[in-house]
Amino acid sequence: MSSTPSGKIRLATVWLSGCSGCHMSFLDLDEQLLELNEHIQLVHGPLVDRKDFPPEVDVVLVEGAVNNEEQKEMAGILREQSRIVVALGDCAVTGNVPAMRNGLPVKNLLESVYPVEGGHEPPGLSSGSEVPRLLPAALPLHAVVPVDVFLPGCPPHARTIGSALKALLKGERVVLEQGMCRFG
């Protein structure tokens, strides 16, 4: 796999409804990051100053559940523009903590977070307000777009992320070692 003129893999990361713990765990690769940097060009994500999701991404690591309309749209874009989509961590894999609200009426949730004056509807209830509309339920990524690789864990261990990236760099299928595949 190599798609930049420099022969580097174009890697993107995306932060949906998650706590950023998965990104922290990625950073926990420590000195291995330097090694990875030889083979990877980071083209998008919270660690990169670029707003739009670029085309022709080789691998995208997606943290977080799909919780609102904006994230749902983002999921579509990243799927369209990436070869390999990785659900990174339990929120992206199962919905995890963000999905604990599933089954509760969205209006009640929003009203308890954004107190509004009588009669007005809270932001996030319908499309068009400056707060993206909250979906009826927080969804795992694969409920919205096809996902190629799942890395469970809250967060997945840096070793898990490292070994998955190494396999992907070599163009191999990701097979998690016994014990690496764990929820929680």
Partner: protein, 238 residues
């Protein structure tokens, strides 16, 4: 007791008449997965994880409730069996609300480790996300129905070992629920002795001692076996 000879995974094995298949399979050192089975309690055949193939039958047999028979030919691992076991674990996750990262049993849970063992890296079934209560009315223990897999270990230990039968199961199918007495808050139970056996045998984060911190629970699922054996040997009769 009469001996029977059967074949397990192409090995000839002898067993005692009246033994169930699960016992014999485990005696061979085969680590057949189970969830509702617990040494010292009666068998329930509820979780179906211990299913095996028996030659001559197209249906899978739950080995914990299948008696050994002369000349039986049993297979404990095949692609089909592994596929079904994995499916069962995924369905258990999808049926209630399992959020391992914030669960008291994170790291010590039998359901969680079964998922790891079978390589469950995501759920292929849409979770039901049921709204379920947690009963924290008891002075010592809490039951969180979100994490319950309806294995009925608690029901059996309360009935068979503690001998009070405070716990039971109400309803059918996905709406089944563990109840105290006639579906009262646990605190109101006139039969519960607060012995805590139910908590110690619960394989998941459904039953726990109050104020336990997440990921710090260690349970004692070996208790029923030890108590039952000790009673048999009359170690507490002076």
């Amino acid at each position: 007791m009469a001996e029977v000879t059967l074949t397990i995974d192409n090995e000839k094995v002898s067993a005692r008449e009246g033994q169930n298949l699960l016992q014999v399979i485990r005696e061979q050192g085969i680590d057949l997965p189970t969830l509702c089975h617990l040494d010292g309690l009666s068998e329930r055949g509820g979780c179906r994880l211990c299913v095996v193939e028996v030659e001559g039958s197209s249906r899978l047999a739950a080995s914990c409730v299948t008696a050994v028979r002369e000349d039986m030919r049993v297979t404990t691992a095949s692609d089909r069996l592994l596929r079904y076991r994995r499916m069962l674990v995924e369905l258990l996750f999808a049926e209630r609300n399992h959020v391992c990262s914030v669960c008291v049993m994170n790291g010590n849970c039998e359901l969680q480790s079964l998922a790891t063992r079978f390589g469950v890296d995501h759920l292929r079934y849409e979770p039901l996300y049921p709204r379920l209560p947690t009963d924290a009315s008891h002075e010592k223990y809490t039951i969180d129905h979100n994490r319950c897999v309806l294995c009925a270990r608690c029901v059996r230990v309360c009935d068979e070992v503690e001998g009070v039968h405070t716990l039971d199961i109400m309803g059918r199918g996905v709406s089944s629920r563990i109840i105290n007495d006639l579906n009262q808050p646990w605190r109101a139970s006139r039969t519960c002795t607060a012995c805590g056996k139910c908590v110690q045998v619960c394989p998941t984060g459904a039953l726990y001692i109050k104020e336990t911190l997440s990921a710090h629970v260690e349970k004692r699922p070996d208790l029923p076996r030890r108590i039952v054996d000790a009673r048999k040997k009359r170690v507490w009769n002076s």
